[in-house]
Assembly symmetry: C2
Homo-oligomer: 156 residues x 2
């Protein structure tokens, strides 16, 4: 189980799409959305994943994360067991100055929301910000994917 | 993901221990105890497992089950993320007329409780009952391990 350290930003322009090296459709649901022990089932492109996360630290920067790849068929079956409501989004990988941003463009009830995440080596690492990057929202719970199921962007 | 079909019985004598072919200590906790999507972390002897179960059918006889073995170290770390309270028990394997009963003798707050489970090929399969087998409790929710965490046997 690794500790995941990341910062999260809004995105203020769609020009990141032209810069993306690749994109994949993601569908994910939750077996548990309790913040101390989130259990997520994700289908990313043609691959399935089961991910368990612990609670974030006070700054919302880091949290324990355990992940295991699953056969696609098992992920599809587990997705049916999940709480009602799934998150659908497209994830773009966008490089900028030796950093790779994961930019999530949400669909469905969260259409209009675009969020960029950057995984860090350590909490002090400096972030070089591309022009399309907007306000930092690290640790703001309304942007958690688990929260977007009960309080989707269309209702903000 | 398989459908697990099983019947559960109380045990009315400790003579099953002499008949057991083997026994293993089990410690287990829950990432989710919601009955529609239980997520369990188990250490059984020296092996770790992650198990996800769906809701039981009306008779309490069958439920969907997905299980994956984990490295022991990962299971130990995930156990720390679980809800407060763990189940500790010893599981004995006891053969009787070509059936293998799993007999769980509970420790801690559930000491005194001994339950036998028999996995079936199908719901119509006849059960041959050894003398030490007591009342059937299939589907009685107070005997669910997930329930024993919040309402242990010592408080019945």
């Amino acid at each position: 189980m690794a500790r995941e350290i990341e910062r999260k930003y809004l995105v203020n322009s769609s020009c990141f799409k032209d810069l993306a090296s690749s994109s994949q459709r993601i569908v994910q649901g939750y077996l548990s959305r309790v913040k101390e022990r989130t259990v997520r089932v994700r289908i990313k492109g043609e691959r399935g994943f089961l991910t368990i996360k612990g609670e974030s630290d006070a700054a919302g920067l880091s949290r324990y994360e355990w992940e295991r790849e699953l056969p696609l068929l098992e992920a599809e079956e587990l997705l049916k067991l999940c709480e009602p409501g799934v998150i659908e989004k497209r994830r773009y990988l966008v490089s900028y100055r030796e950093q790779v941003f994961e930019v999530d463009e949400f669909y469905g009830d969260n259409r209009g929301l675009v969020v960029a995440e950057l995984e860090l080596e350590d909490e002090q690492q400096q972030v070089h910000k591309p022009q399309w990057l907007g306000r930092e929202v690290t640790g703001e719970v309304q942007y958690y994917n688990a929260r977007l199921i009960e309080a989707p962007y269309c209702r903000w």
